[in-house]
């Protein structure tokens, strides 16, 4: 590792000339600024995705009511939401939350911000590429926002965009309007192009992260001294690098189907209303295979970094070494490896050969094992600790508590015969939200509260943060837990009017309860936004190491280091988790020599 010392020296702070505002804060090459840029855009899109979610919830609880505020928009439908509009809402909700919120938050904001700081590097390996990876998102933002205003509205065939409803098109030259659904016209094309840009951005990011972590660690920062956050980011980046090309291919194929009349996903002999496509020969299942080959690894892209951050936060505030550090790393690697051979569990009922389903089931159920091991390790970490209930710690504990539910519900769906009944019901929706909202997003909140002092040099208000946690924790259970029950009772996902089916109508009261909880949950997030913005300007000044953490980002000279991060190259002497039992001091920063016999 010593050869890297040389590289790290010439990137430190004071070697850089002063930059103008534009180069410093807009087209910045500093990983910390880029991270914060990702952070702000993700928060804004979180707002958009949240509003779409609330529209969905309103429709689900009060299917025949006029929609408040925007009822004029639905004048020709008596002020009520149209079915197509509803389909657009949940499609865009999921697309925005997955591709514009969770992934940019985790890999964009936290990946960028933490990686160089926590491994003791001056910046990313390729700062210009890093800048590009942010700015290539802007075409995506523009395309996706614009898509709401085109003919037929934004995409409406689900975030999974299954052909043929998403992909069928009139013959080339007859416009983009879709014969199958209004939202599958120009809106779908923009959706595809926008996701392509997001993919390119993620790819640039992951190449950068992998290179940086392999090549730019400070002297002494061996692989097994890296904090879990970095391990998680590393493995996530590898997942992205291998899975994304497949999504890219799928998106391009569907774009071609939609625009120049290819038929990759369109078989022979179909008819839509009284129009029949002249050519076919394609395969709708092909899309599902390609899509899930990316999107299953993507669900881990959306959780592993959160798991890493939660591990670090738990150890810090339990003042205990992380339990089973190596087992944690192997579990993440195991999840990532198995994650590539389980995609078919989304396709058990799709018409794929059922024998294949059996194989996918075996792999899927086994993937619960590393998840379980991680949970046990988190519990082991807080055992005999000295738990400090700061806001980030509460979010981390909330993560552990609710990830248990999300992981366990996965087993039901992985069991092929049980999945026959619960596939495409609200049980799935419950699962998704326990792992993505109640786990990933809680981890993200934890990370924001935790690294805010490093980002802005201020502390977020802890009491307000706790109020935010309290409401979020309680209300997200009120919103998402009953979804298990309505799902078991047979409520299908993706329907705008639950009074249509014989089994579903009686679930209306429970739906109302969930929707009211969701509205309150949405309101509670305003507390966070207020705290976040207020603290940037008026928060208490942060000290250099407010949480008494061990990792390198807290050893920089200034609380918010300049471009280049470290004044002198940090030299690492021990692992990141030497908390507790150090005489009168209960931590040992990685730059200090450990006083206990090294464990790793």
């Amino acid at each position: 590792m010593d050869s890297h010392a040389e590289h790290a020296t010439d990137t430190h702070g004071h070697a850089h000339p002063e930059l103008g505002f534009i180069r410093k804060y807009v087209f910045s090459e500093d990983h910390k600024i880029i991270g914060v840029q990702f952070l702000f855009t993700s928060i804004i899109f979180l707002g958009l995705g949240g509003i779409l979610a609330l529209l969905v919830r309103i429709q689900l609880a009060w299917p025949h009511a006029e929609i408040p505020l925007i009822h004029n928009y639905f004048a020709d439908n008596g002020g009520r939401m149209s079915e197509s509009f509803y389909n657009m809402c949940f499609t865009m909700h999921a697309s925005v939350m997955i591709f514009f919120v969770i992934i940019p938050f985790l890999t964009g904001a936290f990946g960028n911000f933490t990686i160089p700081l926590m491994i003791g590097a001056g910046d990313m390996a390729f700062p210009k590429l890093n800048m590009m990876s942010y700015w290539i998102l802007w075409p995506a933002f523009v395309l996706i926002s614009f898509s709401f205003f085109v003919d037929g509205g934004a995409a409406a065939s689900g975030w999974t965009a299954y052909p043929t409803i998403s992909s069928v098109a009139m013959p080339a030259g007859q416009g983009l309007a879709s014969p199958a659904a209004p939202g599958s016209g120009p809106g779908q094309v923009l959706w595809l192009l926008s996701l392509l840009c997001v993919g390119v951005s993620s790819m640039m990011g992951s190449v950068n992260y992998i290179t940086t972590i392999i090549n730019m660690r400070a002297p002494g920062m061996t692989l097994y001294r890296m904090p879990m956050t970095i391990w998680a980011m590393f493995i996530t980046a590898i997942l992205q690098a291998f899975a994304l090309p497949v999504l890219t291919v799928a998106l391009i194929l569907q774009t071609l189907d939609k625009t120049i009349g290819t038929t990759f996903f369109l078989p022979d002999g179909l008819s839509f209303g009284n129009w029949s496509p002249e050519v076919g020969g394609g395969q709708p299942l092909l899309w599902q295979h390609l899509f899930w080959f990316y999107s299953h690894p993507a669900v881990y892209i959306m959780i592993l970094p959160s798991m890493g951050m939660v591990s670090d936060i738990l150890a810090t505030f339990a003042r205990r070494p992380l339990f089973g550090y190596r087992a944690m790393i192997y579990s993440i690697a195991g999840i990532a490896g198995l994650g590539f051979i389980v995609w078919g569990h989304h396709m058990f009922q799709s018409g794929m050969d059922p024998r294949l389903g059996t194989g996918f089931m075996v792999a899927t159920i086994m993937i619960a094992l590393p998840s379980a091991i991680k949970t046990f390790n988190w519990l082991g970490t807080i055992y005999r600790g000295n738990l400090q209930f700061t806001t980030p710690m509460l979010f981390a504990l909330g993560f552990v508590s609710l990830f248990i539910i999300g992981g366990l519900s996965g087993i039901f769906m992985a069991a092929t015969p049980v999945d026959i009944y619960i596939h495409d019901t609200y049980f799935i929706v419950a699962h998704i939200h326990y792992v993505l909202f109640a786990s990933s997003l809680l981890g993200i909140f934890g990370g924001i509260y935790y690294w805010f002092p490093k980002m802005f040099g201020k502390m977020m208000n802890d009491n307000v943060g706790k109020a935010h946690f309290f409401l979020t924790f309680v209300l997200c259970n009120c919103t998402f837990f009953p979804m298990h029950m309505v799902g078991l009772a047979g409520l299908r996902r993706r329907i705008p009017d639950i009074t249509a089916g014989a089994l579903e109508a009686k679930l209306l009261p429970l739906n109302e309860f969930m929707s009211i909880s969701a509205l309150l949950l949405g309101l509670a997030q305003l507390i966070f936004v207020a705290n976040f913005l207020w603290s940037i300007f008026f928060g208490a000044k942060a000290s250099q190491n407010p949480w008494k953490s061990n990792t390198l980002e807290w050893t920089t000279g200034d609380p918010v280091p300049g471009h280049g991060n470290f004044d002198t190259v940090p030299i690492v002497h021990c692992g990141p988790y030497e908390y507790g039992e150090h005489g009168d001091k209960d931590n040992c920063p990685q730059t200090e020599k450990s006083t206990t016999p090294a464990t790793h």
Binding site: L270, F272, L397, T416, R492
Partner: protein
């Protein structure tokens, strides 16, 4: 909130979730009664996983809450437990084991692995029985002996059912061996005198039916929650689906001159929700997806089914 208060919050919230789940069956927020032969196995596996996951849930959440309570930082900043504190008395017998981190880790890897492997193996046969049977022509399972067949073609936003004509159907019943070829090609090859019906699946009790499922436009999903049946209809493909109904829900209504469903034969109640069995499309297929709902009519025996088929065929002929 005091430090220990947080463990209470976690405990209460998780307890509330557990209680909510516990009372769901009483509130009707639960799986409807199963009315096919698949239901027993599918529900059994569901309950197996429910038991295992409940145990895992309780153990982990209790440990989390207890630790959060026990190890909360004290207000005066003293460590909540002495550095050399031993185990509580009820754990004393396991002290040696618990102090050996390696053994503990081994245990919590091996025990869940075994449980998970058991869960996996429990699924395999049920899945094969439900989904492979009709694909294997030489298989002597119930599905392949079925003399009840329906071809279902989905489209935005309805289910079109095709039944054999009365004479063809009688032929199958009278001489299965001689009509085998015609019987087997029913799904693929429509006849000019087939009987067509929209959104009504007619079958009879205790007799397996094979549905030949296709779609002519987008993906739909043939979802019969009461029967624990779900299969996507895939454009460009015909997929066989089989099941055996175990309860009756229809009768001849003299005044309306047609068969009605939603009928509870025991209580002689009409329009009973419990006996209304939807074919509710479960794969997003466009604006009308939510109301793409057909109905299953389970007749009490073959004779009643034949009666329905005759009446329906006659009606069709009259219409022509």
């Amino acid at each position: 909130m005091g430090n220990k208060g947080w463990s209470v919050l976690f405990g209460v919230t998780m307890l509330a979730c557990a209680i909510g789940f516990g009372i769901s069956p009483l509130m009707g927020w639960w799986m409807p009664e199963g009315v096919s032969t698949h239901a027993g196995a599918v529900d059994g596996l569901f309950y197996l996983i429910l038991v295992v996951t409940t145990i895992a849930f309780v153990i982990t959440e209790v440990i989390l809450v207890v630790f959060m309570w026990r190890y909360a930082e004290t207000p005066d900043g003293k460590p909540p437990i002495a550095a050399n504190a031993g185990f509580p008395s009820f754990l004393k017998p396991f002290e040696r084991f618990l102090n050996d981190q390696h053994k503990v880790e081994l245990a919590w890897t091996i025990v869940p692995s075994i449980v998970l492997v058991v869960i996996v193996f429990a699924q395999v046969n049920t899945w094969a029985d439900i989904k492979y049977a009709t694909r294997n022509r030489n298989d002597a399972t119930a599905a392949n002996k079925a003399r009840s067949q329906v071809a279902v073609s989905a489209r935005q936003f309805e289910w079109r059912m095709r039944y054999p004509s009365v004479s063809r159907f009688k032929g199958w019943m009278a001489n299965p061996a001689a009509t085998r070829k015609d019987f087997e090609s029913f799904g693929k090859i429509p006849h000019f005198n087939d009987v067509h019906v929209v959104n009504e699946l007619h079958i009879w009790k205790d007799h397996p039916v094979v549905v030949h499922l296709t779609t002519r436009d987008v993906i739909h999903s043939f979802n019969l929650p009461n029967f624990r049946v779900k299969q996507d209809a895939l454009p460009g493909k015909m997929i066989p689906v089989w099941f055996t109904p175990t309860k009756v829900n229809c009768k001849w209504d003299e005044s309306r001159q047609r068969y009605i469903d939603g009928y509870d034969p025991a209580g002689k109640k009409e329009k009973d929700k419990e006996y209304t069995w939807d074919i509710a499309c479960a794969e997003l297929c466009g604006w009308g997806h939510y109301r793409m709902i057909g109905r299953v009519f389970v007749h009490k025996d073959q004779a009643e089914f034949l009666d329905w088929l005759q009446k329906t065929e006659a009606e069709g002929t009259r219409r022509n």
